[in-house]
Amino acid sequence: MDIFLQQVINGLVLGSVYALVALGYTMVYGILELINFAHGEITMVGAMVSLAVVSALAGSGVDMPGVMIVLTGVLTAIPVCMGLGYSIERVAYRPLRHAPRLAPLITAIGISIVLQNAAMLIWGRQYIPFPPVLQITRYDIGGATITNLQIAIIVLSACAMIGLVFLVNKTRLGRAMRATAQSPQVAGLMGVNINSIISATFVIGSGLAAIAGVMVSAYYGLAHYYMGFMLGLKAFSAAVLGGIGNLTGAMLGGLLLGVIESLGAGYIGDLTGGFLGSHYQDVFAFFVLILVLVFRPSGLLGERVVDRA
């Protein structure tokens, strides 16, 4: 039982990160019906920027508690990523807003190649270690262990998600976003400035990505210019699993995907009598995803979309 509990904890930590990144995909999709493939790369930039700040602070011998150093890193990374998200939308997506649906997909891929290689030019090809500024403590619960960093990740992403839900459902900006998602034309007629709402969506999504990037690099202890690709892919799958365009769906999808991967890796051997091992972890995750989509073609919480060409 303790093993099962441990696997669920592992999955929840992983899933929190997925969920945070998935929110960025889903927000953009909800409004523009566009898969922002460069989102994973924004996460990477967030990790890199914060790491540069944290390393500089840790190396300079400033007398600051570890948490404060990391917080400074986060607070630097968020505006940088927000600016980046804003610029990407202006340069690569806005001119194509009325182009065929797949055109922005190609610019997104182009942007993500550019960001990767620009990051390589700036920060080098090396894997960059996260300085050991955070004190790790382990806690035992029912035979399973959890560290303070893991708890922080779960709590922080939960807070970010609650904040976002509040923003979308309770504020003026959120109402404008929901209106734009439903029908840009009508929202425009009602006096909503569509362009600034879309920009705001990118900016908020990128801010969340920055937080996720810092979490990933702090938790796993490293950052690399190529790290955004896999993370982005997983988060995108999570968003689709939950029903892309749906905020709660993205969170649920992220957490579920994390737990599925974790349980899959842990139990797939026992389930198949040793025939398949943990190397089929991703197969298992994709299999569940396909199964869900076959029975619920719009994801777990997605609404039935109107048919589009």
């Binding site: 806005r94 796993y220 896999m230 890796a265």
Partner: protein, 394 residues
């Protein structure tokens, strides 16, 4: 949008120019050789260096290139005479993106640029298909890092490597785990890359032969960062030792996560783990980790310390295979010296006979082109540094 348009157009023009230039470039390439001969004093010797310079393994690829570059810079400074002319070595560096298809294209490109030899490729997956092209064109190839057994087993007389293959290193590691480290129950993880899987399979065989039990066999990928799930299921099997076949970007977070889960088994890795970056990423969690590296310790070799000083001054910290690339380059230079020619057909027999003291050990090749001896050195992390435990001779 309006403001950036001129910029975009300028870039586009630059691109178009770049494409237009290539024909001229191809023409001018032939010129220096002729010019050099006319001067009578210098001979340009082009050497190819291939490794992934973009993508996840770019740091290792650049490291290989730098290692080779250092060797050829030294050779240029020494003023080596080949056939009465002073040899001027020039590296032509190509990016194979760790992709087998791109690997064959750049291999052909190097052949076209009339290189006299190739140091590369980095991965077994690109080295093997490219080796056919070098063999067809009779150009010697020395891989500093490919470990897959089939590379030298194809019967090409152009294929060499200065790195022990999976079988040599795996046998030492498996045996060491079961005997010297006294592990009875071993868990094995590999990253499902050609390198990780090849090495892990050999370790499993050798460990079983030495009387240990493989209690768990788990797998991850060479792009993963989260290993808590497989580590948790390994924990329930209570092994004394975990062997990981893979590279440090996975190895270091894995060690951290072992600590997080309270998993106290020893951690053993191959040459992919024995890097400086492993230490900085794993931090204090890396203490006690044991990893192997083919050859003898660089510091114990004459000239080894000198190499490290020179390399770090020029390129920064050694990533992983730079010493091997350096030795590979010197093997090629020494063979050319012995043959008094940079003509591949003339110096290739000398390359097979080469025997010199490199920075990773005594370098000589067996009939297949594998490095002879196959000594493997075990290291352990103590006080944040890799300390030599012992060198195991097979």
């Amino acid at each position: 949008m309006k403001q950036i348009r001129p910029l975009i157009i300028a870039l586009g023009c630059a691109l178009a120019l770049g494409c237009g230039k290539k024909e001229e470039a191809a023409k001018t390439e032939a010129a220096p050789g002729a010019g050099g001969a006319a001067a009578g004093a210098e001979e340009l010797v082009k050497i190819g260096s291939v490794a992934p310079l973009t993508g996840p393994q770019a740091s290792l690829g650049k490291d290989n290139e730098n290692g080779a570059q250092l060797a050829f810079d030294e050779a240029n400074a020494q003023g080596i005479m080949l056939g009465g002319k002073k040899a001027k070595f020039e590296i032509i560096s190509e990016d194979d993106q760790a992709d087998p298809r791109t690997g064959t294209v750049v291999a052909q490109k190097l052949v076209d640029s009339k290189v006299k030899g190739v140091i590369g490729h980095l991965n077994s997956g690109t080295t093997i298909p490219a080796s056919k092209i070098y063999a067809d064109n009779n150009i010697p190839q020395i891989s500093p890092s490919a470990t897959a057994i089939p590379y030298t087993a194809q019967g090409y007389k152009t294929a060499f490597r200065v790195m022990t293959n999976d079988e040599q290193q795996g046998a030492v590691l498996g045996n060491y785990a079961a005997t010297a480290l006294g592990a009875k129950k071993i868990a094995i993880i590999d990253d499902r890359s050609a390198y990780g899987q090849g090495l892990a399979d050999q370790v499993a065989t050798a460990a079983k032969a030495a009387g240990a039990d493989v209690v768990a066999r788990e797998y991850t990928s060479d792009k993963a960062t989260d290993f808590t799930a497989i580590l948790t299921s390994i924990k329930s099997k209570k092994p004394d030792l975990i062997f990981f076949g893979g590279m440090f970007p996975q190895g270091a977070p894995m060690v951290k996560q072992m600590k997080g889960l309270g998993l106290k088994a020893k951690f053993l890795g191959g040459d992919g783990v024995q890097t400086a970056d492993f230490l900085s990423i794993a931090g204090t969690d890396g203490e006690g980790v044991i990893a192997s590296s083919p050859g003898v310790p660089v510091s114990s070799m004459p000239g080894g310390q000198d190499f490290v000083t020179k390399y770090t001054a020029k390129y920064g910290e050694i990533q992983l295979y730079a010493p091997y690339a350096y030795d590979a380059a010197w093997a090629m230079i020494n063979a050319m010296k012995a043959a008094n020619s940079s003509d591949p057909a003339v110096y290739m027999p000398e390359l097979a006979k080469v025997n010199f003291t490199g920075v990773t050990g005594q370098i000589s090749f067996d009939a297949k082109g594998d490095v002879q001896g196959g000594a493997v050195t075990m290291y352990q992390v103590k006080d944040g540094k890799w300390q030599v435990l012992e060198t195991v001779k097979k």
